[in-house]
Amino acid sequence: MKSWLYTIYLKTRLDWRSSEIWITHFLVPVVFFFVMGAVFTAVMPETEATLIPTMVIFTATMGALIGTSGTLLAYIEAPTRKSLKASGIPFTSILLATFVAGVVNLLIVTFFIFFVAPLAFNADFPQSLGVFFGGYFLFLIPNLLIGILLPLLAKDASRLTIISQAVFLPSMLLSGIMFPFEMLPTPLAVVGYVLPATHGMMIMTESSFPLVNVLVLIGFIPVLLVLIGWRLRVLLREEA
């Protein structure tokens, strides 16, 4: 148990030393928050009501799909993975540590946005804190699992960039954080509906839990865990 906890602690510390994590988990989300927060609230004052969920979803999506997936790739590449295995360190400990470190990092920025947005942009606090944070975690879990799955699928940096962007951009454009989801043409709305960000946005802007969105997000979790397990097995079998 102590070894697992130390792995989580170490991965979190290593993430804080990583320029990639600083850029994708902290710097870009905070800059985006200040710039777009100013633009959104100046051009469309009604966005004050949804500014916090919008920025939080942007932060978590960028952090998980681009930052977390990128740092995990360094461990997935064969020389590091073999070094760990030869020393009796289970790779699942790295996956778990990556997940927990992602939660810690993204929560820090989420709380920053949560407290600064009302002061800086007169943003409204969520109608229900329970629904907001419940929805946040329901969205964050599958989102980080996707961030873990992507490097297992890609296996190298160039492919990972393409795959990450292929999930990140639709999450930004089709989830309702940039444009109201209801205004999307049906084919794009269908694509948007299979993204965790869409359901996260739908829950976090409500005052009670919308059952369908909650169930969809919960449903993502076992599916993604099975896919991660499958990719990990494939990866280890290819190597053996």
Partner: protein
């Protein structure tokens, strides 16, 4: 200590290992030599529990390779090891020791000259420092058997000499080692026994000296005369070719008899001798010869 029987491994149609049998004794350094693609790394990685075998049996002190890794019997320095760029030697040693439930082995980092690099990110370590770090990590849990795959590849002469000293000291401390290398001189000076792996089979096995002496009768005598000469047939030497520098080479079963016969001929015919040398085959030459024999 280690027993390998009938080890086979294929990647699709490529039969990399075709029935390896091997037994290693306690406290010996066993060298694995072979040309590129001979299967050295595959063989080591199967023994280290990193790859699956297709057929065959591996017994490491009564354990399977996976069990031996789990129980800390094996220490492994891979040919291409890596760690995350921002991890420091101190982080790495702490991390590896935590998983073995050990105190952090700072003594090993000091022993391998990394005391000034404890907090230096992995990406800023030199190739030699990285190699020494991985060796320190492999030794952290005091394994009984150490696998070294090309341990001195990419090292400068100074680092190479230092690592050779470390390997010799580890042997003195009772460690059994398996070492794969391209460096014949390294294998010849460090190893008690050598296996030459060619096209998935161990073609020769024995001490470096024994492998070379197996062709002891094939001492090469090189002769250079002042002018060209038509040599007759001799009973104790047979022609072996000519060098670009104009030496005529003779192969002799008994170097003394061969030398006397050649010198007798030179003196008897009043030939002007410029140079005469005797040369034993090195392990490297023997290795190339064995690899060539197999290719034929």
């Amino acid at each position: 200590m280690i027993k390998v029987e009938g080890l086979h491994k294929s990647y699709g149609d490529n039969h990399v290992l075709r029935g390896i049998d091997l037994a290693l004794e306690k406290n010996e350094i066993f060298g694995l030599l072979g040309p590129n693609g001979a299967g050295k790394t595959t063989m080591l990685e199967i023994m280290e529990g990193l790859r699956e075998r297709e057929k065959g049996h591996i017994d490491i002190m009564g354990k399977t390779p996976d069990e031996a890794v789990r129980e800390g019997i094996l220490g492994v320095q891979l040919q291409s090891s890596s760690l995350p760029e921002v991890m420091t030697p101190l982080d790495a040693m702490t991390f590896f020791c935590r998983w073995r439930q050990l105190e952090v082995r700072l003594d090993l980092l000091r022993r391998f000259g990394l005391e000034r690099e404890l907090k230096k990110p992995y990406k800023h370590l030199s190739t030699g420092q990285k190699r020494r770090l991985h060796l320190a990590l492999a030794l952290a849990h005091e394994p009984q058997i150490l696998f070294l795959d090309e341990p001195t590849a990419g090292l400068d002469v100074e680092a190479r000499v230092a690592l050779h000293e470390d390997i010799k000291n580890m042997k003195k401390n009772g460690l059994t080692m398996v070492l794969a290398s391209h460096d014949m001189a390294e294998v010849e000076s460090l190893c008690d026994r050598v296996g030459i792996l060619v096209q998935g089979r161990i073609k020769k096995i024995g001490s470096p000296r024994a492998i070379v002496e197996e062709v002891a009768g094939e001492t090469i005598i090189r002769v250079k005369l002042a002018s060209p000469h038509e040599w007759p047939a001799f009973s104790h030497v047979e022609p072996h070719g000519e060098t670009p520098e104009g030496h005529v080479e003779w192969k002799a079963e008994d170097p003394l008899e061969g030398l006397l016969e050649l010198l007798g001929h030179i003196k008897g015919n009043d030939l002007a001798l410029l140079d005469i040398t005797l040369k034993k085959q090195t392990l490297e030459e023997r290795f190339i010869e064995i690899a060539k024999e197999d290719a034929r």
